[in-house]
Symmetry: C2
Subunit: 373 residues, 2 copies
């Protein structure tokens, strides 16, 4: 695991502004690039505070404020219609992973040259005309740092993934003040999502030292600061550290990506509409334990960084429960009879399961669901 000689493409947004108040640097940067027409892609909550991005009256700013959690094709079509109409110079994703993922697709598909069906998969996007900036308002998905976008195909209860270098942001603003209002439960769940990105990349057949540097730092930051932010949402030091941890998780996603944890978590979202962060948190301890035998040193590093010890799944579960996360699938409205079908769905996500350091059977997935139930 983690041979430095394996060729790798390392991807970063070129400019990352980090610190309290930097959201307003988006407008400054846009002005330096001569962007006069701006589309902000946001959920309803963030649509109400677009002023924080700092645009003055000299810029035409249009806000698409209808992003929904786990966006589906209809939601994408709605933002694409607005994009086609405006033909913006700059698209800004302003929200959690859903807003940022839709902003990516708006930026590359908004001119109508390609459709979603044309680009599902890797490296099928042909180009991008507008600039792209990302301003995360949660600290979890890491979408701001990566080249992927996910859209839910509701009819077939699956996630469609688009990957393209053209969806890499030109500029990211990590402003901890934007996450101060996140309630403790959401802070905890999104933080564990970032943790899962780092851990699944660190314990991955494609792990690489140049990505491990982000994975390990992200894990350390979550271990040190997530509890603080859950306890006191206004702790700006903790909020900044979590914004960085989330970004680092995003850096892990492009070149290495997640593994069994995310695959097993997906059906909780696609079938039962459990928020992405929460779904990953519920699954995280059990996949960590499942992989421990083939990655003992790395598993030990994770537990140590999280400040827990003992039996792997119990220790990781304890970390999550201490954050107040409801970790039992049975309490999340998932009927036990569904676990079998969910196992089949998760087992179909080969692109992630193939990354797992230990082979995963359909039976193994069912076992993980039962342990988490």
């Amino acid at each position: 695991m983690a041979d430095v000689s394996r060729p790798l493409s390392i991807i970063h947004p070129p400019i990352i502004e980090c610190g309290a108040g930097v959201a307003s640097k988006v407008a400054e940067w846009a002005a330096s690039k001569g962007a006069g027409k701006v589309l902000v892609v946001a959920d309803a909550f963030n649509a109400d505070r677009v002023g924080l991005l700092g645009f003055g009256p000299e810029t035409k700013v249009e806000v698409f404020g209808d992003v929904v959690p786990e966006p589906d094709i209809a939601n994408l079509d709605a933002v694409l219609a607005v994009t086609a109409e405006l033909a913006p110079d700059l698209v800004v994703g302003f929200g959690g992973g859903s807003a940022m993922d839709l902003a990516k697709l708006a930026a590359v598909l908004g001119d109508g040259g390609q459709t979603l069906a044309d680009v599902v998969g890797a490296h099928l996007v042909k180009g991008r005309r507008p600039l792209l900036a990302q301003v995360p308002t949660t600290a979890g998905t890491g979408s701001e740092g990566g080249t992927r976008s996910l859209v839910t195909d509701t009819q077939n209860a699956r996630k469609m993934a688009v990957e393209s270098l053209y969806m890499l942001a030109d500029m990211v603003a990590l402003d901890p003040q934007l996450t101060v209002s996140l309630p403790p439960a959401l802070t905890a769940a999104t933080g564990v999502d970032a943790l899962a990105h780092c851990v699944e990349s660190y314990t991955n057949v494609k792990a690489h030292p140049a990505i491990d540097v982000y994975a390990t730092e992200g894990i350390r930051l979550i271990g040190r600061y997530l509890g603080r932010a859950v306890e006191n949402g206004e702790d700006l030091e903790a909020r900044t550290a979590l914004a960085l941890a989330s970004l680092y998780g995003g850096f892990c996603l492009g070149p290495v990506n997640t593994a069994a944890g995310h695959a097993v978590a997906y059906p909780l979202g696609t079938r039962h509409h459990i928020a992405h962060g929460h779904a990953n948190a519920v699954i995280f301890p059990h996949v960590l334990a499942f992989n421990a035998s083939v990655a003992p040193e790395r598993t030990a590093f994770v537990l140590d960084a999280l400040g827990v010890s003992g039996d792997v799944s119990q220790a990781a579960l304890q970390f999550c429960e201490n954050l107040g996360i409801e970790m039992r699938m049975s309490r999340l409205g998932i009927p036990e009879a569904d676990l079998e079908a969910m196992s089949g769905e998760a087992f179909a996500i080969k692109r992630l399961l193939d990354n797992n350091p230990r082979e995963v059977s359909r039976e193994d997935i069912l076992g993980i669901y039962k342990a988490a139930y």
Copy 2:
């Protein structure tokens, strides 16, 4: 030191290809960007192996192969003349820091809109038309990862620094095969230059956790791999690790930069033409020791990562001497009578001395020179 709440701009080239053979990805990437006219800026040695960049006959490639070490204004003027004539779509820096620094300036000044005098300082460059790719053939300067360029003003024996986001590479290829031919002495000296970037950024009044992650990883990689590459130049694993360490040193330079070490080392280059890497190596142990009292934990981390212990300057000196570096200024043709004047020159480099965690007087600098003599 290293408060995560301090606002910071984190800068990375968006695409970094890493691994044996990736030099040829420059042509692939250039083709995807539609770059038909390419200027390669190289020293004589690398000018002879431009074929490794992979360009085919469909691309017009012109090579400026006259880059000299520690390039001066005349060298810059020569490359600017070629750039103006060709009007390239893409400028590729192919060599050590000198070639990459000149490539940066060729990319932003080549169209004649601004002169060097217009842009010396920070953020004075107004734009850049051609694409910029960097392909380092040493592992030391980190120029490929940063936004700075240095040109020597021979008449006034000083370095002029240009800093601009427009000089950030669009693409970097870190190909360890390019450094296999570096002789042990140059491998050692350039490796310690990368180490100095990381250490001076880590023990810096502007240190920041988001940069410390690179500084600490760079220091660890140098400690683990530099001796291996000096011993066996064909150790591709070690060469790859050093390429990453150099890049990480470059990541440190933009947002944090170096401190007293580089300031004190400059006169060795400007007055006595000692290669930049070697000059930094000679000074490194003595500045580390000078700062130890105000950064004891970070100094201890450095020694530990380098695998040495005991008295700080002796331990760091031992690390460098084990690599075969001539560490005595007296053996490098520098007359003792010059140290006084050199102290004055180094003391004038306020922009770096202000970054040092311990205040540095002109007398202190003289003391460092005497210790290194």
